[in-house]
Amino acid sequence: MTDAILFWFLAFVTVGAGLSVVLMSNPIYSALSLAMTMVGVSALFVTLGAFFLAGVQLIVYAGAVMVLFVMVIMLFDLKHEIQAFTRGKITGAVKIASVGILAGLVVGAITLSTKAIELSQKTQADADTGKTYADNTMALAQNLFLQNVFGFEALGVLLLVIAVGTVALSRSRGGTHARD
């Protein structure tokens, strides 16, 4: 019973924050709402028993990626962007397209939900048999470092490529921040 209340509360907060990302006209509020959505998703992970994943969600998404978003938005003065977000033909077209995509997503979610219910019943059965966080994190580690080790190494290379690309972009000629 209390679990259900908790879930509905968190779902309400998360979806509400997600809606305010698209409905707010000021980009800074949108970014902060997105950060709130990340925190809500992290709390939802906790209700599913994925404690380590919840922590990772907090550290990486709420604590790192969204901080970058907020910092970049603060780098610029966004008076014109506020108008561009709310007016204009292109914006109207984008809005209509978004509504279409949203409708498609809703239909997809409904068809998928039957599968999700089966899956959640299975997870609940796992939880009832007394699996603790230690097994949980250990299972993650085994999956990552024994079974999918190639993906793990590939991810390291991918992150390296991103770092190189970022540095190259930030030093390229032209634009407002050209050096040398």
Binding site: L6, A141, F145, L160
Partner: protein, 123 residues
């Protein structure tokens, strides 16, 4: 995890903060507009300069994005570190040690390249 307790204390602290601010506003009153200069932002004796006149170095953006990359790599070491002793006891020690050694080699190469390419210089 005591999620209910965490949510409760978050709301409690929020209410506590709002009450504190309203208390201070009630006892001290809102700032009276005795002059236009009083409501300006802080500046040392010259006309106020807004944040939109402020140019901020692109270095901050670079630092933030490099932070994300290294942060993700460090997060991947956490489940490895917590299970390392168990892996050794279960006989998978050399394999897991080797896989992390390759990952760390890529990490170190990335860091060395960042330092060498002067991406981390602040002038």
């Amino acid at each position: 995890m005591p999620l209910g307790g965490i949510i409760f204390i978050t709301l409690f602290i929020g209410v506590f903060g709002v009450i504190l601010i309203y208390l201070a506003r009630w006892t001290g009153g809102r700032a009276k507009r005795t002059s236009e200069a009083k409501m300006e932002i802080y500046e040392c004796g010259i006309p106020e300069q807004e944040k939109k006149d402020t140019k901020i170095s692109v270095k901050f953006y670079l630092t933030a994005i490099l932070f994300i990359l290294f942060d993700i790599e460090i997060i991947f070491m956490y489940p490895w570190a917590v299970g390392f002793k168990e892996f050794i006891h279960s006989g998978a020690g050399p394999f897991v040690f080797g896989s992390m050694a390759i990952f760390l080699a890529i990490f170190i190469f990335g860091l060395w390249w960042e330092i060498k390419s002067k991406a981390l210089e602040w002038d």
